[in-house]
C-alpha cells in the first residue's frame, strides 16, 4: 500500500513522536509513505473560522498534490482529516469550486476531487484490516485498559465526514481488542478535548480535558489513546492544568494511536518517542510484558 503522507504541523514540531511512531508502524505493516515537502498546514480549523473559502483553497492545493501523484492521502490528525475532507465536500458546491479554481488555475494547479483522505485509524482498521494486524502482534497489550479518545473532527459532522458514526464509533476499540488491550467505554471518548479554545479561555479548555480524563479514569482506564495530536496536547501536555481545574491528581498516560499499535507490534518505547510525553507512560508500560521474538 502506498499513500501520500500528510503529517500535519504538530507531528513535525511539538508532536514529533507521533511522526516517529507512524513511520515505525507503517514500516512494520508494509505501508509505503510518500512525503511531499510541498504540503502546507491544513489551517487547523482556525483558518476556516477566519476565511472559509481560503481554507478550502489551501487544502484543495494540498489535495491536488496527492492527486497529481495518483495517491490517496494518509493523515494522522483528526483535525487535518476534518479540514482536508471538508475541502473535498465544499468543492462539490459549484460556486465555491469556481472561486477556488479561479485562484488555483493561474498557478497551474487543478484539483479534480478524486483524492480520498484517510486517517491512519481508517487505514489500519479498513485497509490493512484487523486480522492482518492481529497476525503481527508480538507483545499483546493484555492487562492494559485503554480509553480511546477519538477527536471531534475525525467523526463529525458525520454526514460530511462519511465517518463510521458521529457519536458511537467502534473502530478504535475494535483495534485495541486486536492489540490485546481492553477498551474502556466512557461518554467522554467522543467528546471535545478543549483544544480549540485553549488559547481563548485556557481554564475552560482544561476543565473540559480534565473531565474527559476523569471520565476515562473512573471507568478503569490505565491510559488513554488518541488519533489526534491536538487532543494529545490537551490531554497530555496540559494535563497539569486539567488537574488544577478539576481539583484531582490525574496522572493518566496518553498515547498517540500509532504508539499503542507500535507497542503491540514490538517497538521499543524509544522508537515510539514515549520519553517526549509530559505525563510519564511508565505506569502503563509496567502492565504489559516484553515482546515475544519475531
Amino acid at each position: 500500500m502506498k499513500l501520500a503522507y500528510y503529517p500535519g504541523c504538530v507531528a513535525q514540531e511539538s508532536g514529533k513522536e507521533l511522526d516517529l511512531a507512524t513511520r515505525w508502524v507503517c514500516r512494520a505493516l508494509g505501508i509505503e509513505l510518500v512525503p511531499f515537502p510541498a504540503f502546507s498546514c491544513c489551517g487547523s480549523g482556525f483558518v476556516d473560522e477566519a476565511n472559509e473559502v481560503l481554507n478550502i483553497g489551501i487544502n484543495a492545493r494540498n489535495l491536488a498534490i496527492a492527486e497529481k501523484a495518483g495517491l490517496d492521502l494518509l493523515t494522522i490528525c483528526s483535525t487535518c482529516t476534518g479540514m482536508l475532507n471538508l475541502a473535498n465536500v465544499r468543492m462539490t458546491d459549484p460556486q465555491v469550486r469556481a472561486r477556488v479554481d479561479a485562484a488555483l488555475k493561474p498557478l497551474g494547479i487543478e484539483y479534480r476531487g478524486t483524492v480520498k483522505v484517510k486517517h491512519l485509524l481508517q487505514v489500519l482498521t479498513q485497509d490493512v484490516g484487523l486480522e492482518a494486524i492481529r497476525a503481527k502482534v508480538r507483545r499483546p497489550l493484555a492487562g492494559l485498559q485503554v480509553g480511546a479518545f477519538y477527536g471531534c473532527h475525525l467523526l463529525r459532522p458525520a454526514d460530511e465526514m462519511r465517518s463510521e458514526s458521529g457519536e458511537e464509533p467502534q473502530s478504535f476499540e475494535e483495534l485495541l481488542k486486536v492489540l490485546g488491550a481492553t477498551p474502556v467505554y466512557y461518554r467522554g471518548r467522543v467528546m471535545c478535548c478543549g483544544f480549540p479554545i485553549q488559547f481563548v479561555k485556557g481554564p475552560t479548555a482544561s476543565r473540559l480535558a480534565g473531565r474527559q480524563i476523569q471520565d476515562a479514569k473512573s471507568h478503569g482506564a490505565d491510559a488513554m489513546a488518541t488519533p489526534c495530536p491536538l487532543c494529545h496536547i490537551s490531554l497530555d501536555a496540559y494535563q497539569n492544568r486539567a488537574e488544577k481545574e478539576v481539583g484531582q491528581r490525574l496522572d493518566l498516560p496518553v498515547f498517540h494511536l500509532p504508539q499503542v499499535v507500535g507497542l503491540a507490534l514490538g517497538a521499543t518505547p524509544a522508537e515510539l518517542g514515549l520519553k517526549r510525553h509530559l505525563v510519564p507512560t511508565d505506569s502503563a508500560l509496567a502492565k504489559i510484558r516484553a515482546p515475544s521474538p519475531a
Binding site: Q12, K16, F39, A50, N51, E52, R61, G194, F199, L208
Partner: protein, 325 residues
C-alpha cells in the same frame, strides 16, 4: 388479518430523581416487550400507563414538531418520539434514558429549561427595524430566493434544546450562549430585512462566540438538521470582519490564518506571541518552558514548504481583504 410484528424484550434503565425529596438520583429498571420500530416515547408512556404512574416525562405532539421530548438516550441527545428502540437495543443491549444535560432537573426526565431560554432571549431573536427607516405602511418586504437561501436551515429549529444538552462548551462555561441561540443570531444577522446586523455582530461578547469548540455535537444531535456549528463558524468570520481581531478568540483565528501565509506551515511560537500578546506570553512562559523541555522543536521556526509562493498567491486571490484591527 396480518400477524402483529414480532416483539423483543427491551430493558430500560431510567433516571429517577426529585430534588428536595430524593437524596440522590437513581436508575430504575423496566423491561417491555416491544416491536423494534416502537418510538422511545411510546415505550415511556407505556411504562407510565402500565407499570409506574409516577414517572415524569415532558412531551406533546409525538411527531417531532413540538420539540418537547428531548432527552439523553444512551448518552446522545435525542427526541424520544423519533428514536426507535430497536437500533439502540442492538448497539447497547439496553436503553439508558436520562434527562437533558446542562439544565436543572425538575423531576425524572423533566428539566427546567430556563438556562436555554435565557440565552435565547439574549440574542434578541426577532427582526429589528431602524425607526429612522420605517417600512412603508402595508408594503410587502420581499426577499430574493438567494437571500432566503443563506438562512433556510435555521428557521427549521423547533427549540427542543437537544443541542444545548449536547454542547460541551455550555457544560463547562455558562457564559456560552449555546448552539441554538447562536444559530438564531446568525439567522437574524443575515436576514436582509433586519436592520441591526452590524450592531448584532458588534454586541457579541468575548465569551459569546469564541467558546464554541466546533466539536459539531450540536449538529449531530439536531433533529432538524439546523447545523448550528456551521452557522457559528459563519458568525465568526462575519464577526472578524466587523469587530476586527480584537479579542483572544478572533485574534487567534486571524493570526493563525496570517501565520501560514509566509512559509505554509504553522510557526507555533510566533502564533503564541501574537495571540497572547507580550503580557499574556509572559504568563504562559512557565507552561511553555515545561513543554519545551520535552519537545524542543517548538522553539524552531519551521522551514518554508516547497511552493510557499503558491500558498501566498492563493491568499492574494481568496483573502484580499484588509487586515482588521
Amino acid at each position: 388479518m396480518s400477524a402483529p410484528p414480532p416483539t423483543v424484550k427491551v430493558p430500560f434503565s431510567i433516571y429517577r430523581y426529585e430534588p428536595g425529596r430524593d437524596r440522590s438520583p437513581r436508575y430504575q429498571e423496566y423491561t417491555l416487550d416491544l416491536a423494534p420500530h416502537t418510538p422511545l416515547l411510546t415505550a415511556l408512556l407505556r411504562i407510565r400507563a402500565e407499570i409506574d404512574p409516577t414517572l415524569s416525562i415532558r412531551y406533546s405532539c409525538r411527531s417531532a414538531i413540538c420539540g418537547s421530548c428531548a432527552m439523553q438516550v444512551n448518552s446522545k441527545s435525542r427526541l424520544a418520539c423519533e428514536t426507535p428502540v430497536g437500533p439502540e437495543l442492538e448497539k447497547h443491549g439496553r436503553i439508558v434514558v436520562e434527562p437533558m444535560r446542562n439544565q436543572p432537573v425538575v423531576r425524572d426526565l423533566v428539566v427546567d429549561q430556563s438556562p436555554f431560554w435565557t440565552q435565547y432571549t439574549k440574542v434578541e431573536p426577532h427582526l429589528k427595524l431602524d425607526p429612522r427607516r420605517p417600512m412603508p405602511e402595508g408594503a410587502p418586504n420581499p426577499m430574493t430566493p438567494a437571500e432566503v437561501e443563506r438562512f433556510y436551515e435555521t428557521p427549521r429549529c423547533i427549540a427542543c434544546a437537544a443541542c444545548f444538552s449536547a454542547c460541551p462548551a455550555v457544560e463547562v462555561d455558562p457564559e456560552f450562549p449555546g448552539p441554538m441561540a447562536l444559530a438564531k443570531l446568525y439567522r437574524y444577522t443575515v436576514d436582509p430585512r433586519d436592520q441591526a446586523h452590524q450592531e448584532r455582530l458588534l454586541r457579541i461578547q468575548p465569551g459569546g462566540l469564541w467558546l464554541c469548540l466546533r466539536c459539531h455535537l450540536c449538529t449531530e444531535s439536531c433533529p432538524k438538521d439546523v447545523r448550528p456549528s456551521e452557522r457559528i463558524r459563519d458568525l465568526k468570520e462575519m464577526a472578524i470582519a466587523v469587530q476586527g481581531a480584537t479579542e483572544q478568540g478572533s485574534r487567534h483565528a486571524f493570526y493563525f490564518k496570517e501565520n501560514l501565509k509566509d512559509g505554509g506551515l504553522l510557526n507555533e511560537m510566533k502564533l503564541a506571541r501574537q495571540t497572547y500578546g507580550l503580557f499574556g506570553l509572559v504568563k504562559e512562559l512557565p507552561q511553555g518552558v515545561r513543554i519545551m523541555r520535552k519537545k524542543p522543536e517548538m522553539r524552531k521556526k519551521p522551514h518554508p514548504i516547497e511552493g510557499a509562493d503558491e500558498v501566498r498567491k492563493i491568499y492574494d486571490a481568496l483573502d484580499a481583504k484588509e487586515a482588521p484591527k
